[in-house]
């Protein structure tokens, strides 16, 4: 018995809203049971798809099972959320369920430990806080993340409060962030004056962006920051649209607080947030869009909050994280420059899905997501135009806000071009999590318009066709959006795949790292490749050499003999206290799946198109160099101790005749 039913017992009369259908008691049980069966079957199918993946490098059936599961899981929820007859409260509950359940693909991908590159780096930073009690500790895998401790600090706080390990606490936090991201888009839609239905559909459409299922669910700072960006925008829009001073003050306060949280968590999100706020403030200052009573106050609020966020971001970038710009600039600068070269015919355009393990239909759907987004955007724009012409969207804050979100959403289309350049593709993909906020806000009402348009038709065949078409469009968007993000090796478990970050972690590598830490301790400076370094620099708590053009570690591997190793490199090893070398012998036989042995952006000649490793026959020298002592070897990994500086004399080439004795104890 609830307090509400008690109130009814106290004499309140149950009210029937006009136009409501008589509620049939128990009529919901059958659909609910069918929905529950679909969800359970969907989860089972996803798990089965992953299980198949573990046995094969790639197979059609793992993709089929996975997507069958995802569609079983999501389509029933989406269809009930989209129904006009669904109550707002039920819609909110189903949106919560959708938000939680769409975390399942990532959760099942790595339920117990990190697997993606960035996850190892963030694991290490969180570990450092827990074991040193300090923030801003250097990170050997991604140095810049040390200056953005938001995610690590909150994970460490959760570890301290709950007694969970780092990965479990991170998972709890990420499930919440994922859920809040969906709810945040819906809250943003409602703050912009949409119905609960349109706002919920905007949230569903947002979930089709390529980062939603995997990239923004990984244990990385952007996964938390994108949620913070959305909630900052919710508070920002509510501050702009508030009708009372009290509410405006409260929403302004929250906007500043949320902006600060975003800024200390992730650089690109902070940039995007300030950009979003600036565009909104600018559009709110345009008279033909925003002029109405209280217009100046609204624009002043927007500019004031934007200025506050910009000042905080500027302070953080300049004082706390001065390396941010140099870290980010190559992604955009080189991307644009490569794109220009491609346009002029002087560059080599990046081949999309070049070495992809995805089936053909996933790849085709990935192209269609752009068409889907374009259609929804055009629909949204036409709807805004119609409303403006009919006088239902008068100049004012709401018109200005909708136009600014539409503008921000349209940025998605030019950014798609950057995917054609290898340097720009990374940045383009990361930008979609933000541009799709605007796109979703634009598309939500047009989705409602599409769903309701069949009421104007007579033919049942047309109605069936329309629903079928919409269902197909949702399927294409869900599959294509995900496929346009991460490649199959990231999304599906599978056997070891050389040079794939998500499939490089083996018991052998973990054992090698554990042996090294147990024998020599932690905090050593190591030279190694990108994939071995993930484990040595995280669980192993070692520091690894960060390869760059100024510190070309690969020259050590490339040299045919002792004399070919550049002395300047050896001097750098010595000055940097790099005393150990970890070698994965497979680099002499295989080309890395991710296209880099040491670091993305390494010289292209290291990964020749012939398919034969450039390091073939060049790693054996490490066994005979007098200044390297081999202290460990497993099936694939060897560890050497470096005695630097290189002595003028080595070991004798004339071996003695003295006899010793080998003994092995069982």
């Amino acid at each position: 018995m609830t307090a509400t039913s008690c109130k009814r017992g106290l004499g309140s009369v149950p009210q029937q809203s006009s136009g409501s259908r008589p509620s049939r008691s128990g009529g919901w049980i059958l659909p609910a049971a069918a929905g529950a069966c679909c969800v359970l079957a969907g989860l089972g199918a996803i798990a089965h798809g992953y299980q198949i993946g573990q046995y094969h490098l790639t197979s059609q059936s793992e993709f089929m099972w996975f997507w069958a599961g995802m569609l079983l899981l999501s389509l029933p929820l989406i269809s009930v959320i989209a129904r006009s007859a669904t109550s707002n409260a039920l819609r909110a509950a189903l949106l919560i369920l959708y938000g939680i359940l769409t975390y399942a693909p990532k959760l099942l991908r790595d339920p117990s430990s990190p697997i993606y590159h960035d996850e190892f780096a963030h694991w290490r930073s969180t570990y450092e806080i827990l074991h040193t009690g300090k923030l801003f500790r250097a990170n050997p895998l991604i140095p810049i993340i040390a200056r953005y401790p938001g995610l690590h600090a909150s994970t460490a706080a959760l570890v301290n409060a709950t007694g969970l390990n780092i990965w479990q606490a991170a998972t709890v936090l990420l499930v919440l962030c994922h859920l809040l991201l969906i709810l945040g888009i819906a809250a943003l839609g409602e703050a912009l004056g949409m119905t609960s239905r349109a706002a919920s559909l905007a949230a569903i459409i947002y979930s089709f962006n390529s980062s939603f299922l995997y990239f923004d669910t990984q244990f990385a700072y952007e996964s938390m920051a994108v949620t913070l960006v959305v909630w900052t925008l919710v508070a920002y829009v509510r501050a702009i649209r508030a009708r009372s001073v009290r509410e405006r003050t409260a929403s302004c306060f929250l906007t500043v607080l949320f902006s600060a949280g975003t800024i200390v968590t992730h650089h690109l999100s902070a940039f995007s947030l300030v950009l979003f706020m600036a565009v909104i403030a600018l559009v709110l200052s345009l008279p033909w869009l925003a002029r109405t009573r209280g217009w100046v106050r609204t624009a002043s609020t927007a500019w004031g909050l934007t200025l506050a966020a910009a000042v905080m971001a500027g302070f953080w970038f300049l004082v706390v994280a001065p390396g941010t710009l140099s870290y980010l600039s190559p992604y955009l600068g080189e991307g644009l420059s490569q794109l220009m070269q491609d346009a002029q015919g002087t560059g080599a355009a990046r081949q999309l899905f070049g070495a992809s393990l995805s089936p053909w239909w996933e790849q085709k759907f990935a192209y269609l997501i752009v068409v889907f987004a374009f259609g929804m955007a055009v629909g949204g724009l036409l709807l805004i135009r119609t409303q403006m012409r009919s006088g239902r969207l008068d100049p004012g804050d709401r018109r200005a806000l909708l136009v600014s979100f539409a503008l921000l959403g349209l940025v998605y289309f030019p950014s798609v071009l950057l995917i054609l350049s290898s340097a720009g593709s990374e940045g383009a993909r990361r930008s979609w999590a933000f541009s799709w906020i605007g796109l979703a806000i634009l598309a939500g009402p047009s989705a409602v318009w599409l769903l309701d348009s069949n009421r104007r038709r007579i033919s049942n065949w047309f109605r069936v066709g329309q629903y079928t078409g919409l269902t197909v469009a949702v399927c294409v968007a869900l599959i294509g959006g995900t496929a346009a993000g991460l490649n199959a090796a990231y999304r599906f478990p599978g056997p070891f795949l050389y040079g794939s970050e998500a499939r490089s972690i083996t018991p052998e590598l973990l054992a090698a790292s554990a042996w090294f830490s147990a024998r020599f301790g932690t905090g050593h400076n190591l030279i190694t490749d990108r994939y071995s370094g993930l484990v040595f620099a995280s669980y192993g708590l070692q520091n690894i050499a960060k390869t760059s053009s100024g510190f070309p570690v690969y020259e050590l591997y490339l040299a045919n003999s002792d004399s070919q190793i550049p002395s300047s490199l050896l001097a750098e090893f010595r000055s940097g206290n790099f005393n150990y070398l970890v070698v994965d012998r497979r680099m002499a036989y295989e080309i890395p799946e991710d296209g880099a042995y040491f670091v993305s952006g390494e010289p292209a000649y290291l990964v020749p198109r012939s398919g034969e490793s450039i390091f073939r026959g060049r790693l054996g020298k490490f066994n005979s160099l007098s200044w390297m002592i081999k202290v460990f070897q497993s099936d694939n990994y060897s560890i050497y101790r470096l005695s630097l500086p290189v002595a003028r004399t080595g070991y004798s080439s004339r071996p003695p005749s003295g006899r010793g004795k080998l003994v092995v104890n069982p």
Binding site: G44, A104, R241, P445, W449
Partner: protein, 313 residues
């Protein structure tokens, strides 16, 4: 009116009039939760408190009673604020040069929550309930307006109250269940491996051997599901390898770790010599090299008392 209804009514009234203080009491009870052993039980008890209470208090303090957001907006603000407050607490501790520990974080959060609870409670007492609906909450649809056909007020009130909680509990249970199910599906066994390594750090640098000789210790780890046969060899490395010890043939069972040692006689003269221990698996072929799988480690040895610089190649 039943006794249960009276009781629910009283609890409901108490909660509505003093929820900030009740929430603060709940947060301070985390000390009791900390006494539980770390694990899922403690996590289930602590997670909702840690991720909801400080943020709820902040929402109450910032908005007061009249314009406090409801429903999903309240939950969203509360969780985001709880997370952010924990980040700001860590930053404050760092700035104050106080180590970030479970205890220090808890006390800072408790202090923050206490301040927020007092402000929220004060605003609750001093403010009258809202009479004007909030402008922002009003929907001004771009899409064609349709009546909310499912919104029977009484039923909707019940759903509104419990559906989000039910959805969260259902969603989390389904996620946990799917992980359990996936964890219990058959899967390929992990690829095994074999290791050969020195058993101490001494061998990592040049070793001095006295006139009576010395022992170098090593270990063989065999993490394979099957027994295998190996040949163990020790040689002096040079222009032509010279046997150092009589080779051994070993049979190593699944998941075994063996300890071994190599007795090294005093090396002659003033030179540094390199010795190599090699383990070769018999009757197997390495798929990469198409040869017998081989593991090796090496070390540099020299006679004690002799200067390394006197040792010529």
């Amino acid at each position: 009116m039943t006794a249960m209804c009276k009781y629910l009514h009283r609890v409901s009234s108490l909660w509505l009039s003093a929820w900030p203080i009740c929430a603060l009491v709940l947060f301070s009870a985390l000390t009791a939760i900390h006494a539980l052993p770390g694990g899922y039980v403690r996590a289930i008890a602590a997670v909702p408190t840690v991720l909801l209470v400080p943020g709820s208090l902040a929402v109450g303090a910032v908005f007061g009673g009249r314009s406090r957001p409801q429903g999903i907006l309240f939950i969203g603000y509360a969780i985001v604020l709880s997370v952010l407050l924990s980040i700001f607490a860590s930053l404050a501790l760092y700035a104050a040069h106080v180590p970030i520990t479970a205890l220090s974080t808890y006390f800072v959060m408790l202090g923050l929550s206490a301040v927020l609870a007092v402000v929220a409670q004060a605003r609750l007492f001093t403010e009258r309930p809202a009479v004007v609906p909030q402008a922002v909450g009003r929907s001004e649809p771009l899409d064609r307006e349709t009546p909310n056909l499912g919104d029977d007020p009484d039923r909707a009130a019940r759903i509104r109250r419990f559906a989000p909680i039910a959805a969260i509990v259902t969603g989390v249970s389904l996620l946990a269940g799917s992980v359990y199910f996936y964890d219990h599906l058959p899967r390929p066994s992990d690829a095994g491996y074999t290791q050969l390594a020195w058993a101490s750090t001494r061998e990592a640098s040049s070793i001095t051997v006295g006139p009576e000789g010395d022992r170098l210790y090593f270990e063989i780890v065999h993490r394979q599901p099957r027994q295998a046969w190996f040949r163990l060899n020790a040689v002096w490395q040079g222009s032509s390898a010279q046997a150092l010890a009589k080779p051994l043939t070993l049979s190593i069972g699944p998941d075994k770790t063996l300890q071994g040692d190599l007795f090294v006689p005093a090396p002659p003269g003033q030179c540094t010599y390199r010795l190599v221990i090699t383990l070769t698996e018999i009757d197997q072929v390495d798929p990469l090299t198409k040869q017998q799988p081989t593991w090796s480690i090496n070390a540099n040895v020299r006679e004690s008392g002799k200067s390394r610089s006197a040792c010529a190649q």
